[in-house]
């Protein structure tokens, strides 16, 4: 049996993606954030988490998923990244699943950017988010 890794299925509007669960510190419930004037559209604001201000990352915009503008998110991922903690509003999350890496295949069915692999469970194809690549694009190597 191969090595298993934990993934969090996350929905962004109508798209489901898998996120490396080791990068997820917490899945928050409804969370309000404040837009910061003249901030970059991909990091449009800040929210409060454990008495700190976290940058809000707009995953939908980064992935090119159209969505209505809202400063209240039904669910928010708190991500632990080399740049610090980030808050990523999402539509929904499900229970963590464990997968052997052999079950993942290279990307060919999804058109979303920043995906490193896909899971085809016979019913649907779920891409795996390449978080390091996405963060690198976001921070521009800062």
């Amino acid at each position: 049996m191969g090595t298993q890794r934990a993934y969090l299925p996350v929905r962004l509007e109508r798209h489901w993606v898998l996120v490396d669960a080791t990068a997820v510190v917490e899945v928050m419930g409804s969370l309000e954030w404040l837009p910061v004037p003249q901030a970059e559209a991909r990091m449009p604001g800040v929210c409060a988490w454990r008495g700190r201000a976290l940058a809000v990352v707009d995953l939908r915009r980064l992935l090119g998923i159209p969505s209505p503008v809202s400063t209240v998110s039904p669910r928010t991922l708190i991500l632990d990244t080399p740049s610090g903690h980030l808050a990523a509003p999402i539509s929904e999350a499900r229970a963590v699943i464990w997968l052997e890496e052999e079950r993942l295949r290279s990307v060919h069915a999804t058109s979303l950017p920043y995906m490193r692999a896909e899971l085809d469970d016979g019913e649907a194809v779920m891409p795996v988010l390449d978080l390091p690549a996405l963060l690198s694009a976001l921070t521009g190597g800062r």
Binding site: E32, W33, L34, P37, A48, A53, A55
Partner: protein, 154 residues
Amino acid sequence: MAHELGRALASERGSIGSDDYLVVPSTHAAFALQFADVLRIGVPREHSELPLVELHRVLGAAPPPEPRGARVLLLRSGGAEVGLVVHGRLTTLAARAVQRVNLPVSLVRSPSVVALLLQENRPCALVLERRQLIRALLSHYFSSTTASVHKESS
């Protein structure tokens, strides 16, 4: 301090410390300035000789849907004064009632916003930094003045 609101705030200063906040509503978010940064509060017609710029223009935010009840927050810029025009109901926030947390500036870069105020762990206002705000205000004022001079001369 000719204006009624200015007098009201002056009378409150007995209980409001210089580190407390004056909160300005906007279509974008609520913005807060520390009382120590605001010299006086007036109305635009009384300060027409000063550089006056609306807050939403300085911040690049959407204008208020029904701009009315304009006030001017007079800020000291070196030896002179500049005026920030704001709309809506001004309120106060005691520093002891809020938690101030700095923005993660390596990720969220905004010319004038430096911190977030939390009230009962919820974000309630973005803190404007006086010097950066004045720099942005003057930059906007002179660029719009230059544009209008060019328009008149052409």
